[in-house]
Symmetry: C2
Subunit: 149 residues, 2 copies
DNA sequence: GTGGCTGCAAAGTCTTTGCACGAGT
DNA sequence: ACTCGTGCAAAGACTTTGCAGCCAC
């Protein structure tokens, strides 16, 4: 379902008023594939294997443009670097303090709970756009995945 | 209630196994006073007015130690810098995208809602420590405060 | 007195910027 | 063709580090 064809990706990019270049296709794809909310550096290393001529500056510029145009989003962290998220649907993040992983968490019941709450709880002088949960903790066995029951 | 005397602050610092120094007292106080979750730079400028000899390096080192020892906490951001929070009770943050302010949000009903949810929703191979909300949006009138009704 | 703390400056990391060349429409 | 995007390298912002001297305990 979330796997997109090359043609679809081209459309997404050009629909946002951007030229479709090889670099942009690769950056977009790399981010979609990478589930762990990578840094610019990680995307750079990943793409470089197939395409050694790409530059880190381009990765930064492109990610910034994608964020600006709303194709992707930034992830909040308390580490000193930026991480990106290729999925822009309404979901939450689980932060693992030992492995530094950021894992997606999706739950419809929770989303409903939260939006019901903020429908009655009004905040004045504020135009609310989005509410996300930051779930913090640590993996018990770092070699295995976290699983949501 | 949250206003602490000098003696109380000294106790907090030494109870965490740290030497009580003038710089630490000032850094701790500055952070408690500052409601907007300041950067190291902002704390530096604030303290410098009264005490011009303090160094930025000390601010960074001290904040880092305070975080490590649990006296204060870091705030997650998607900007390129670190911000700190002097209040470590369970509360959420409102992020204003135009003024870059981070405003505290406290609601007992919401805390209960969330903790009830995570009591039944189990995440395996994960030791959950903390759940916080990131409320994003923007001030309608940037010159006035956001008010929670 | 001793070990931890501070100030200073230098180094390090991450990110942005400027510019000439190259590619997409 | 014209404009926008890319690569490179330099600059910038933020943070960490090393070390000599200083201070709390």
């Amino acid at each position: 379902m979330s796997q997109k064809s090359l043609g679809e990706i081209k459309d997404i990019i050009s629909d946002h008023g951007l030229k479709v270049t090889h670099q942009r296709l690769m950056i977009y794809q790399a981010l979609k594939e990478e589930k762990k909310h990578p840094t610019a550096e990680i995307i750079f290393e990943k793409i470089r294997k197939k395409n050694p001529s790409i530059s880190l500056g381009t990765i930064y510029k492109t990610l910034e443009i994608f964020v600006e145009k709303g194709l992707i989003s930034r992830v909040n962290t308390s580490e000193g670097n930026m991480r990106y998220d290729g999925l822009i649907d309404n979901h939450d993040h689980i932060y693992c303090t030992n492995t530094k992983e950021i894992i997606d968490f999706r739950d419809e019941e929770l989303n409903t709970l939260i939006s019901n709450f903020f429908n009655k709880k009004k905040i004045s002088n504020f135009d609310l756009k989005d509410v996300r949960l930051h779930i913090t903790g640590e993996k018990i066995d770092p070699s295995k995945d976290v699983k949501i029951n």
